[in-house]
Amino acid sequence: MIIQPFTDVNPSFFGMLNQGPLTLTIFLHTVLILPMIWIYFDEKKKLQNKK
């Protein structure tokens, strides 16, 4: 029951992602938050260079 059958009226990309366990929200959160790790290390490098 982890992957649920597609129930919505019309199929779509987001509708497909919505079938797995939180896959849709994990996808959206990842896109939002993951690049912050890169921003973090980039800033860290800049701070160290300044020193």
Binding site: P5, T7, V9, N10, S12, F13, F14, L28, V31, L32, I33, P35, M36, I39, Y40, E43, K44, K46, L47, K50, K51
Partner: protein
């Protein structure tokens, strides 16, 4: 400050860049989702109805069909079911006529500020009943209101009620006379019938138990 702010966590620049990134990305994702949703909630066509293609929001000509609200095992909740053709105010409306009627109905719905007492699709004020599935309400289906108003069909009774709500009071809290003309009343009923055919993902839940309950009369007052 330069030697003290060795930690990125206390760097304004880090938070500013992160805020800009997250905001911009959230906006882009929302736009992407919006394109997909707008496509799905655009009205279907008369052709779709004829071929039985399901749309979340059917064409205005849905007023020519019988609409029901039934539990769907696949969806896990109740969904509108568009059935056989039935006359609406004694006739079949062409796509052009139906579109014009719905247009007038929606305009009247706004012009009379209906949403500042009622809710539609659950949004609005809470002083009067929700109108999402008003067309399907057993109070009209079973003939209670229809008989009281003395009309043969549900749509005629509804239109008459909308024109003279003060003549048919049911509770202390009653609808004021909003000087709705006959044309406007017919258009409003079309608007309500169209709204009842919208797939609202099962809202309001359990609506169909109303019909069972009112027939048996166990819970009714």
């Amino acid at each position: 400050m330069s030697n003290k702010s060795a930690s990125v966590w206390t760097s304004i620049r880090f938070w500013r860049r992160s805020a800009a990134w997250v905001t911009a990305t959230a906006v882009v994702l929302l736009m992407w989702l919006t394109f997909d949703t707008v496509k799905q909630i655009s009205m279907g066509s008369d052709e779709d109805l004829k071929k039985g293609i399901r749309k979340r929001i059917p064409a205005p000509t849905v007023i020519n069909y019988h609409i029901d609200y039934k539990f769907s095992k696949k969806r896990g909740h109740e969904v509108p079911v568009i059935g056989q053709k039935e006359p609406f105010f004694g006739k079949e409306w062409s796509p052009k006529e139906a579109a014009a009627l719905l247009h007038k109905g929606k305009l009247t719905f706004q012009a009379k500020a209906c949403i500042d007492c009622h809710t539609a699709l659950g949004n609005g004020a809470y002083y009067a009943p929700d109108l999402t599935k008003a067309w399907l309400d057993p109070k009209w289906n079973n003939g209670t209101m229809t008989a009281m108003i003395g009309k043969k069909t549900k749509e005629e009774a509804m239109a008459e009620f909308l024109m003279h709500p003060d003549k048919y009071p049911t509770h202390g809290r009653m609808m004021p006379n909003l000087h709705i003309t006959k044309d406007e009343a017919i258009a409003l009923v079309a608007f309500l019938k169209h709204m009842s055919s919208i797939d609202t993902n099962g809202f309001p839940r359990n609506f169909s138990i109303n019909a069972k309950r009112l027939k048996g009369g166990t819970n009714a007052h």
